[in-house]
Amino acid sequence: MSLSRRRVRAVLRKELREYRRSGAIVGAMVILPVVFIIPPLIQIFALPASASDALQGADVLLYMLGIPALVPAALAAYAVVGERQQGTLEPVLTTPLRREEFLLGKALASLIPSLAISYLVYAAVILAVEVLAARAVAEALLQVPEILAQLVFTPLVAGLSIWIGMAISTRSSDPRTAQQLGTVASLPTVAVAALIAYNVIHPTLGIAIGFGVFLVLLNAVSWRLVSSLLDRERLITGTK
């Protein structure tokens, strides 16, 4: 099977244009991570320098890996069922567009703003910790390996969240339900990030590499799996 880059790009460009025209979509995506990050930040700012010893070796900032899991979930869950509800799905499905191309274009369109928002929030948090937290606390929190892990795992976590959202979207008949389910489905990933941040799970380099490879494979498999769920007949007629 050969994929057409032009068709994937057409779907992606269309989606990005729609985001640009309706700013509320991206605006709504920003709210959640901001709410998600403010309470721990306030706690960090209130920590005295003496707390830095307890923070040594902890991976507190990996808590933010919950952001790429949460941000794209609702957007991805809307992707297919939303088009269906608007009546725009049928014309698209009458073109030579393959299911894989359609979903890849949609997934990239969810991934791009999610990455942008996640990285912007990370940058804002790092800057805020650097400026507002006690010096010793900032030095204990801002570890290069942790920041690197954050950068590398963000697209992988977002990708997984997107495929779960898309799977829900292809099988759902109501966009609101799909978006709620998509958000709920991203919570286990948020929970894993929280367990790492609270030192319940202590990732070593080996675990990180293994988990990274696993996520890459899982994303690839999920793309194929979700593609097989996209059934033209069911989406058009609501039967089957």
């Binding site: 460009r13 014309p91 073109t95 567009l97």
Partner: protein
């Protein structure tokens, strides 16, 4: 796999059926359509017209039967190749309302991988007379204009077979005339048009042949042939005054099979051949000393054919 040649029929449908569980959408439908033919597909609501279009457009799979679309056998594996050669304009335009007309068309030109998309888009916009609205957001357009954008979108791929589902729904008379001219021009250029419509006068004016579907195919043929098949030919005679002995005037005339008194001064004659019967009737009336106002051939429209068929079916239903 099919070929690029246009030697065979553009659409060939053989005993095609589609069921959704216990519900029959359409059953045992068979027909053939040639390249460049404008084919009307008529039927009441729920007759299976849209499902037939979706099946032939590879959106849904038939339950049984076979078909060839644009020279390619209708199978799941051939879906993409078929969709490269056809275009479907659904009843609802389904445009991206936040995007401009141009952006909508750019998206679909890329989905069809149209060569020279700018030229294609320009041509399609010109065909539907929307070049001056290219930069307007689709959400700001009227229903009729949206319909025209959807038609432009369907033209982007230069399709061999174009399925149009109620293409003039919501259009004003002037826009309707433009779409009719476009359909006729497309037919002349060799594009096969599969036109689903409720507007019977539209089908009569545009279509080379029509099919009437009500789950099964009820009739198929040229509109004139359908009329002849369903209705006896008739002459309507109007005189200044009532004829004293109409039976004596009309009896035994060549090609006249029967007559009835329709109104005070109007008689309807059932005839086998109007070209033979009309002169004979005229001569007989003059010989009888009648003052003739008019002798005309009775015309039945496609609407009459359609209503006759549907009414007949409704009567036959338990």
């Amino acid at each position: 796999m099919g070929t690029d040649s246009k030697s065979g029929p553009a659409l060939s449908v053989d005993d095609l059926s589609k069921r959704f569980g216990d519900r029959v959408a359409f059953h045992d439908v068979s027909f053939e359509i040639g390249y460049g033919e404008i084919f009307g597909f008529l039927g009441p609501n729920g007759a299976g017209k849209t499902t037939t279009v979706r099946t032939l457009g590879t959106l849904i799979a038939p339950t049984s039967g076979s078909a060839t679309v644009a020279g390619i056998p209708l199978t799941i594996d051939n879906g993409i190749e078929i969709r490269q050669r056809i275009a479907i304009m659904p009843e609802s335009p389904g445009l991206y309302l936040h995007l401009t007309v141009l952006e909508n068309l750019e998206c679909f030109a890329d989905l069809y991988e149209a060569p020279d998309p700018k030229e294609r888009i320009g041509r399609a916009l010109q065909a539907v007379k929307l070049s001056d609205r290219a930069h307007d957001a689709c959400g700001t357009l009227s229903k009729g204009l949206r319909q025209r954008v959807a038609l432009a979108r369907a033209l982007l791929s230069d399709p061999q077979v174009l399925f149009l589902d109620e293409p003039t729904s919501g259009l004003d008379p002037s826009a309707t005339r433009d779409v009719h001219e476009l359909i006729t021009a497309l037919g002349r250029s060799g594009v096969t048009i599969f036109l689903t419509t409720h507007r019977l006068e539209e089908a009569e004016r545009l279509c080379d042949r029509v099919a009437i579907l009500n789950t099964t195919l009820r009739m198929l043929g040229r509109p004139a042939d359908l009329r002849d098949r369903l209705f006896a030919k008739a002459l309507t005679v109007r005189t200044v005054a009532e004829l004293p002995e109409p039976g004596e005037v009309f009896a035994g005339l060549p090609a006249v099979d029967g007559w009835r008194h329709d109104a005070l001064d109007t008689y309807v004659l059932t005839v086998s051949d109007t070209r033979v019967a009309a002169p004979a009737v005229t001569r007989a009336l003059v010989a009888a000393g009648a003052d003739v106002l008019s002798i005309s051939e009775s015309h039945h429209s496609l609407e009459d054919v359609y209503l006759e068929l549907i009414d007949e079916e409704n009567k036959n239903q338990p």
